[in-house]
């Protein structure tokens, strides 16, 4: 039994009776036991998975109707509520928070008979891109455990890459799905804003973030999106989807399509030589596949990172304000309690990155400064959106490297917050403009992965999958050395 199955192949094997769900789950749990000490993908592993697997096996035997995932083990980033489980956001503030309900994306997976195998590690409250800001210790890159796995959905990427599960749900506010997907050589999709319900996703910057699949293949990404997408009465920002089966015509190819190479993201000083080479190779591949590639410009991209941090800090300052230790939290000495010092006491367990953004979030939208910072950031956002909408009149897709650099070593960047932030340079545009974007594993250089990012217009995930699928079919990547 090979744990490195794609989701679609897993379903075929179960249907063929090659193995039972229980056998696969048992083997998966063994694998987690073996490798998770080294990579630390999970904050929590399910203790009901085997029992649930057994139930599904019995239903298969009695020819009951089975949901399309057939008991497949899927992991979930630990910023999504799953009823009865501790949901920490990798923060000490929520170390005892037991979610009283299950969010929509997860409950849709469960409805389709997926088994939630565990909750994965992240940067505290999804703020970061290396998992180094997890309050429970970082995850490690399975390709080389001296290197970061990317983030913030690092645990999710690692769990798929290290064969600890078949697929995972991550969340993406500024690249948090695509960055670790690129660093760990998995497929990561940030859907169009509004396509996947955020009900149950613990908000960080609610105006731009989305839940999305992290998978081994592009088809698996479409397969998961089929289940989790669409309008939800628990999230007023969701919309009815226009495509009901993203797998349909996924192999249609991209012959005759036009692709814009975003020059600000591809030819900037921040792009490493290895990443630059890989990107150039991918452009040649796209042309071989019959697409017309052309360099183009999105003029506001150089301002996108600054706008992104201004907007996300503002929203984080508001979304995280509820962690005031009144409804849930931890005991602290109320001796000398005084109204104005209360909040600083209540927040002392927040980590450095969250603290930094809370301070920033208290400042940039405040009276007297909003005009200089927050409102200006909103202007960049709407200008960038106008630019990209205009670009999609001409281009079917926009491409760039997902991340300007390859995975870095632990501690290498953490001391310099600004250079850290610039790693988001290529990913934040899709969030600020609401567009769908996917990272596809493309090369492996010096034993570390490189991903290519493809963006499409809103709600054109079906086209996006076609391009990603076509690219994926041209690559032959090594097996993870773990």
């Amino acid at each position: 039994m090979d744990l490195r199955l794609s989701a679609l192949n897993y379903v075929t094997s179960i249907k063929n009776g090659d193995f039972t769900v229980e056998e696969f789950i048992e083997k998966t749990l063994e694998r987690i036991k073996d490798v998770d000490e080294k990579v630390h993908a999970f904050l929590q592993v399910s203790d009901t998975a085997l029992e649930n697997a057994n139930k599904i096996d019995r239903r298969i035997k009695s020819n009951d109707k089975i949901g399309k995932f057939y008991g497949m083990p899927i992991s979930v980033k630990d910023n999504m509520c799953v009823e009865g489980t501790i949901t920490t956001c990798a923060s000490k503030v929520l170390e005892n928070f037991i979610a009283p309900y299950t969010g929509t994306a997860v409950s849709r997976l469960e409805f389709d008979d997926a088994i939630i195998i565990g909750k994965t590690n992240l940067d505290e409250f999804a703020m970061g891109l290396s998992t180094e800001f997890s309050a429970y210790g970082p995850s490690r890159n399975p390709w080389n455990t001296d290197f970061v796995p990317g983030g913030s959905s690092g645990g999710s990427a690692v769990s798929v890459s290290a064969n600890e599960c078949i697929a995972s749900l991550g969340s993406d506010t500024g690249g948090s799905i695509r960055n670790p997907a690129s660093f760990c050589s998995v497929v990561g999709l940030k859907p169009t804003y509004g396509l996947v319900s955020r009900y149950g996703l613990i908000s960080y910057a609610n105006s731009i973030e989305q839940i999305g699949p992290m998978t081994r293949t592009v088809e698996d990404s479409a397969f998961l999106l089929n289940s989790i997408s669409g309008v939800d009465s628990n999230d007023n920002t969701t919309v009815e989807k226009s495509h009901h089966d993203y797998l349909q015509n996924i192999d249609a190819g991209i012959s005759g399509k036009t692709i814009g190479i975003v020059s600000e993201m591809t030819n900037s000083d921040g792009v490493s030589t290895e990443v630059m080479n890989a990107t150039n190779n991918s452009i040649k591949t796209f042309e071989k596949l019959g697409a017309n590639c052309e360099e183009m410009s999105l003029g506001s991209v150089p301002y996108a990172v600054a706008a992104y941090y201004t907007i996300t800090s503002t929203e984080a300052g508001s979304n995280l304000a509820r962690y005031d230790n009144i409804r849930y939290g931890y005991d602290f000495d109320s001796e000398g309690f005084e109204f104005n010092s209360y909040i600083s006491k209540a927040r002392k367990k927040l980590g450095p990155e969250v603290t930094r953004r809370m301070i920033l979030g208290g400042f940039v939208p405040s009276a007297g400064y909003a005009g200089k910072y927050f409102l200006k950031a909103l202007k960049v956002k709407s200008k960038l959106t106008a630019e990209i909408n205009n670009a999609f009149k001409k281009f079917d897709f926009l491409i760039s490297p997902t991340v300007p650099i390859q995975p870095f070593k632990f501690g290498e960047k953490i001391e310099d917050p600004v250079s850290f932030m610039l790693i988001d340079f290529n990913t934040v545009t899709a969030n600020l403009t609401g567009k769908p974007a996917i990272s596809v594993p493309y090369e492996n250089s010096n034993g570390l992965p490189i991903g290519i990012q493809i963006m499409a217009n809103s709600f054109e995930e079906n086209k996006l999958f076609q391009a990603a699928y076509a690219l994926e079919k041209t690559v032959d990547l090594p097996e993870v050395p773990l």
Binding site: A99, P100, Y101, R198, Y199, G317, I326, G362, A370
Partner: protein, 468 residues
């Protein structure tokens, strides 16, 4: 010149559910924290789900106050820390970036004076802090989130009031209007609250908060004017500040804490998409809107010839006008109106009495009819009303049980009157000399018959027997 402006918070108590979740808008019946869900208690991962009925009710209020209503409305977050606020931000509305609140620039008339409405916004109520049980030694504050998320409209006026009397009249008019619209029950505890800002000629604006009732609001405004005027006379500078109404001492005191200073970091609440206020929705709301108080009053006067002061009472009180509308016919309208304003009013003057009353509209028409047909006297009508309110019994049941049928049988009355005259010889003699004193004897007859004697026949027989 004194300038007073008001900020009135009115809960939309007639709605079934809260503003962003399906918990009950009527939180008053619940044990603490038993009317909450992940949304209104701010559990991580929950999202606000806008109650469309609340938007409709708020639109109706904006129309009734003659406001301009934008094509699209938006919601904003007002960020501040307070333990009664589950998310530590309140979802409200703001007009800072164009008109996105439900209503702007309205007006309403009181006593021939126009009061301008600056803005109406739809927002959520916070929870409540309870200090019960706290002592000097154990300083405990309890939090109850049952109220959190209750739909509110905030109505902000321009500083158009010149004295506390105008404020009082306005609040009465507004509270009648909101009740008449069927959006709120202003009589419920905490359903309507108001803050005031007060300034005197050449002075600065002082805000007064924490005013428990409209009655206290008038007092607080009065106190604040006096305070500012006396500072001014003594040439002491008036500071622009927020003051709290001290309910116990009946004075305003400066709120020193920083918590009141307005750094709210307002920004758009993107979890709630912009809402289109369609013109056909507005048209439909307009046609289903209840008749307004002044046109109701006008109709009562012109159609039924009801006295203006009676019509005013009927029209401004939703409870009375509904009773009237349901019970009257073309012919008895005036009698029913009088019955309500003279006999019924004292019996159902509080919310509790109205809630427990079993009176039906048909009771009133039965009563008026029986009085007209002389089956009962006007005097016993009040007793019967009391019985109806208590038991809900129809007139015939009550009459059967308690023998309140009017005595109009000539022979029977004649016998009773003869007895009375025998016992009241002095009064009878006096009445022969001074006929205007005959009412004393009528009273005695009524006493003897427990009010059941027909007063007109009684008078006739008395006159006959006394030879006057």
């Amino acid at each position: 010149m004194v300038k007073i402006g008001l900020e009135i918070h009115c809960q939309l108590t007639k709605l079934k559910s809260k503003l962003f979740c399906s918990c009950k808008a009527d939180y008053r019946e619940f044990e603490p924290n038993m009317n909450i869900c992940p949304i209104c208690s701010g559990i991580p991962g929950s999202l606000p789900l806008l109650n469309q009925n609340a938007v409709e009710k708020a639109t109706t209020i904006a129309m009734a106050l003659n406001c301009e209503i934008p094509e699209k409305i938006a919601f904003f977050r007002k960020n501040y820390f307070y333990p009664d606020l589950p998310k530590n931000f309140q979802i409200t509305q703001l007009n800072a970036y164009g008109d996105t609140s439900i209503g702007s620039r309205g007006k309403i008339s009181i006593n021939n004076k126009e009061i301008r409405i600056r803005r109406i916004q739809l927002e959520e109520d916070p929870g409540r802090l309870i200090y019960e049980g706290a002592t000097e030694r154990t300083k405990i504050t309890l939090v109850d989130y049952n109220r959190a998320g209750t739909p509110l409209v905030e109505i902000v006026t321009e500083p158009d009031f010149e004295n506390p009397g105008e404020v009082r009249i306005f609040l009465n008019v507004l509270s009648d209007l909101l009740e008449n619209l069927g959006v709120s029950d202003p009589g419920l505890e905490g359903a309507m609250r108001a803050d005031a800002n007060v300034s005197i000629e050449g002075g600065v604006k002082v805000e007064i908060k924490n005013i428990g009732s409209f009655h206290d609001l008038e007092k607080a405004v009065h106190f604040e004017i006096t305070r500012q005027q006396s500072l001014h006379e003594r040439k002491i500078e008036i500071i622009q500040e927020t003051r709290h109404w001290d309910d116990r001492r009946k004075i305003t005191v400066s709120s020193r804490s920083k918590e009141e200073e307005g750094e709210y970091r307002y920004f758009l609440e993107s979890d709630i998409p912009w809402v289109n206020i369609r013109s056909d929705t507005k048209d439909q709301l307009k046609t289903t809107m209840p008749e307004n108080i002044s046109s109701k009053k006008e109709r009562y006067i012109s159609k039924y010839n009801i006295a203006p002061q009676v019509a005013d009472i009927l029209a401004s009180d939703k409870y009375y006008s509904e009773l009237f509308e349901k019970s009257h016919s073309e012919n008895d309208a005036k009698d029913i109106a009088n019955l309500i304003t003279t006999d019924l009013m004292g019996l159902v003057d509080t919310r509790e009495k109205r809630d427990s009353s079993k009176l039906l509209a048909t009771h009133l028409s039965e009563l008026v009819d029986a009085i007209a047909k002389k089956r009962i006297t006007r005097t016993s009508a009040k007793d019967i009303l009391q019985d109806m309110i208590k038991t809900g019994n129809s007139l015939s049941v009550i009459l059967e049980k308690s023998d309140l049928n009017q005595i109009s049988n000539h022979d029977e009355l004649s016998k009773i009157i003869s007895d009375v005259l025998l016992n009241e010889e002095n009064a009878a003699n006096e009445a022969r000399l001074k006929p205007e004193t005959i009412n004393f004897l009528v009273g005695k007859v009524m006493q003897k018959t427990k009010g059941k004697a027909d007063p007109i026949i009684t008078l006739e027989i008395l006159k006959e027997k006394l030879g006057i």
